[in-house]
């Protein structure tokens, strides 16, 4: 049952969604903050600015109140005193001071003082010339006036300090607003920076995911194709996404097809050993190798004796079975680095490396004896023997064809001298002991 995998499209959709979500989040945060800053600006326009103006007006009005008080306290004109006392009275109860109860109280106290001053000074200035005890009265009134004037002087100091406080408050309001605006703009900056960082992070995550699920699998697949081309091994990781799984599957299929084609091109379908062409090819390579390393190399030609008779008497099926078993037994005897090829019909060739003449002869003998013995024990096929011709590499001019041809001659000799024999080629025969 095929595994259910997601499509690459899903990955892309997810990544796009992530990028969109993060972008949306950042934009929302920035919008929120800018909205807040707009609100701040509006608040300062609609609330703080009027409040600052209110403070400024109050400070100026306090100054006016002081001037009115001065005119009442020190003025010489009764009408002027009256006018200013009235104005001070109205100003003292004007709603403009309502924003601060302390100021309200100080202004009303100031007005009470102004009223007292007005009454005292009116009495003083209006004292009738014929008043009995005038001097005494004047002195008393003057003392009272002086006490009140001193009080007024002190209260003016209070008003002055209030005025300063109002101005300070207004300034504080102003700087508070400025501070808030600065704070907001720095917040916007911080959020923006966090946003950019987050965005970069998301991009990195997206790139990593794309690399892991898309780029790396494709690179691996292309490497695997190169490996298949040069007949090497490869390994593919399990795919997470549908398309990559399809590619990997195709690569695997291609690889197994290539293997099958290679097998079909190089082996003999009946016995499974190398066919003539591939045997020749490998033998050429081994010969070149042996030449360059000056290593020994021998070629054996082998033929099943009277094989035509097996086919004729027992049928082709038994013939084929005989060939198969024969191949199998020889293979079991061959050491590593040596190989067997079926050159045609009942004719085989064996290439031996790392064997000197004596070892080659011994192995050939072993093969001849073994095949005879094993075929005698095998009930499904008739007993058979083989003849073997050996030719070893002697000169650098030796080729596979020349060696085979010489080995073939030795084989002919083995056959013509009675079969079931191993014959060493004439060039090598003197190196062997006579048995």
């Amino acid at each position: 049952m095929p595994e259910r995998r997601l499509k690459i499209k899903h990955l892309l959709n997810r990544l796009s969604l992530l990028v969109v979500a993060v972008t949306g989040l950042i934009v929302a945060a920035i919008l929120l903050l800018s909205n807040y800053s707009a609100q701040l600006a509006q608040k300062s326009e609609q609330e703080l600015l009027p409040s600052i103006h209110e403070h400024q007006r109050a400070a100026l009005n306090l100054e006016r109140l002081e001037r009115m008080g001065d005119l009442v306290a020190y003025g010489a004109d009764l009408a002027l005193m009256r006018r200013n006392a009235l104005a001070a009275q109205v100003l003292a109860y004007q709603p403009s001071f309502n924003f601060d109860p302390k100021i309200q109280k100080a202004v009303r106290d100031a007005y009470e003082l102004i009223k007292a001053l007005r009454i005292a000074r009116q009495q003083y200035l209006k004292l009738p010339a014929d008043h009995s005890d005038r001097d005494q009265q004047l002195k008393l009134l003057q003392q009272k006036e002086q006490v009140l004037q001193t009080q007024w002087g002190e209260h003016k100091q209070v008003l002055f300090e209030l005025q300063n406080r109002i101005i300070t408050d207004a300034t504080a309001l102003q700087s508070q607003t400025l501070q808030k605006i600065t704070q907001t703009s720095s917040r916007i900056l911080i959020v923006g920076m966090i946003g950019v960082t987050l965005f970069v992070f998301v991009l990195i995550v997206a790139a990593t995911l794309l690399r892991r699920h898309l780029v790396t699998p494709v690179t691996d697949a292309s490497r695997a194709l190169l490996a298949i081309e040069s007949g090497k091994k490869y390994q593919l990781r399990a795919a997470d996404y549908d398309e990559i799984a399809t590619i990997n599957h195709a690569v695997d299929r291609l690889s197994s097809t290539m293997k099958k084609l290679h097998e079909m091109a190089t082996t003999d379908s009946l016995t499974g050993c190398y066919n003539r062409r591939y045997f020749m090819e490998l033998a050429e390579e081994e010969l070149i190798n042996a030449h360059s390393k000056q290593a020994p190399l021998a070629l054996l030609m082998m033929d099943l004796d009277h094989f035509k008779r097996v086919n004729d008497e027992y049928g082709h099926a038994t013939g084929d079975e005989t060939l198969k078993l024969c191949t199998q037994w020889i293979r079991d005897l061959l050491p590593e680095g040596c190989f067997l090829g079926r050159l045609g019909g009942e004719e085989f060739a064996i290439l031996l490396t790392q064997h000197n003449s004596l070892d080659t002869f011994k192995l050939a003998e072993c093969i001849r004896v073994c095949l005879s013995e094993q075929s005698a024990q095998q009930t499904s096929i008739p007993h058979f023997t083989v003849s073997i011709g050996i030719e070893s590499k002697c000169y650098v001019t030796d080729t596979v064809d020349s060696l085979l041809s010489l080995a073939d001659k030795a084989l002919y000799q083995a056959k013509s001298s009675g079969r079931n024999k191993v014959v060493v080629g004439q060039r090598n025969s003197n190196t062997l002991p006579v048995n």
């Binding site: 009235l86 109205v90 100003l91 109860y93």
Partner: protein, 254 residues
């Protein structure tokens, strides 16, 4: 495409511009003429005063042609209701009853209400005065003060069609006290010929009698309120309102 858009914008602006010039930008202003220093006639019979100057400044700011329609105070609200006049700088305190009939601008100054009378009674508490059934108290008919007296005072209430009439009655001692906006009373008391008179105690402590003062606006032109508020805000910002205030009052009444 761009060119089309630009021409469209131009057309839009042209329309806006023409709309502005086509709009009915002439207003009639309801005003009374016996309320010094707010609105009164000078020796030559010319309308003068704080409200007149504020109205003119507003009209200049709104680029409107304005015409004063002089009437008695009690007629002003009905005239606004009927759109006979479009706005009236008539020292309105906001009351729920008035708000049903007319719109109000933002504040243009702040005031309180005081009782005035003979100077020898200046030490009295106005609240006590208003509880005495023997006292005759004059008030501008249709004013917030009138309403307050009717609702709270036990005195005899003399309703007057103009505040000027009240002042002369007070001088002739036909009434004992007059209840009036403090700034108006201040102007009256400060005149040397009225030195026999004085404020009776402190301003009356009641939220319906003090606070912000507004221009009355007809409800039949709802957009006018916004227009007047913008113009008023501009006057405040440019310091023009302060200039006008300085001409008429001894301190900043805004």
């Amino acid at each position: 495409m761009k060119r089309q858009l630009i021409s469209l914008f131009c057309a839009g602006f042209a329309l806006l511009g023409s709309n502005q010039t086509l709009a009915d930008n002439s207003y009639k202003i309801g005003i009374s003429d016996s309320f010094q220093p707010f609105n009164y006639r000078d020796a030559q019979g010319q309308l003068k005063g704080f409200n007149v100057d504020v109205a003119n400044a507003l009209c200049t700011e709104m680029k409107a042609k304005c015409e004063f329609v002089v009437m008695r105070f009690p007629q002003i609200i009905p005239a606004l209701e009927n759109n006979e006049v479009q706005f009236a700088p008539a020292n309105f305190l906001i009351t729920a009853e008035r708000a049903k009939k007319i719109n109000f601008s933002a504040k243009y100054y702040r005031s309180t209400t005081s009782l005035i009378g003979s100077a020898d009674k200046a030490h009295l508490d106005p609240e006590q005065v208003l509880k005495d059934m023997n006292n005759k108290v004059g008030t501008q008919k249709g004013s917030a003060q009138n309403r307050y007296l009717v609702e709270h005072a036990h005195t005899q209430v003399i309703e007057l069609s103009s505040i000027g009439e009240g002042l002369s009655k007070l001088n002739k001692q036909e009434i004992d006290y007059l209840i009036a906006p403090t700034l108006f009373a201040l102007n009256f008391l400060q005149r040397p010929e009225n030195s026999r008179m004085d404020f009776i105690g402190e301003p009356i402590n009641n939220p319906t009698l003090s606070g912000t003062v507004h221009i009355g606006i007809t409800k039949q032109q709802p957009e006018l309120q916004q227009e007047i508020d913008s113009a008023l805000a501009a006057l405040v910002k440019q310091g023009k309102l302060r200039q006008i205030i300085n001409q008429y009052f001894p301190f900043n009444v805004y």
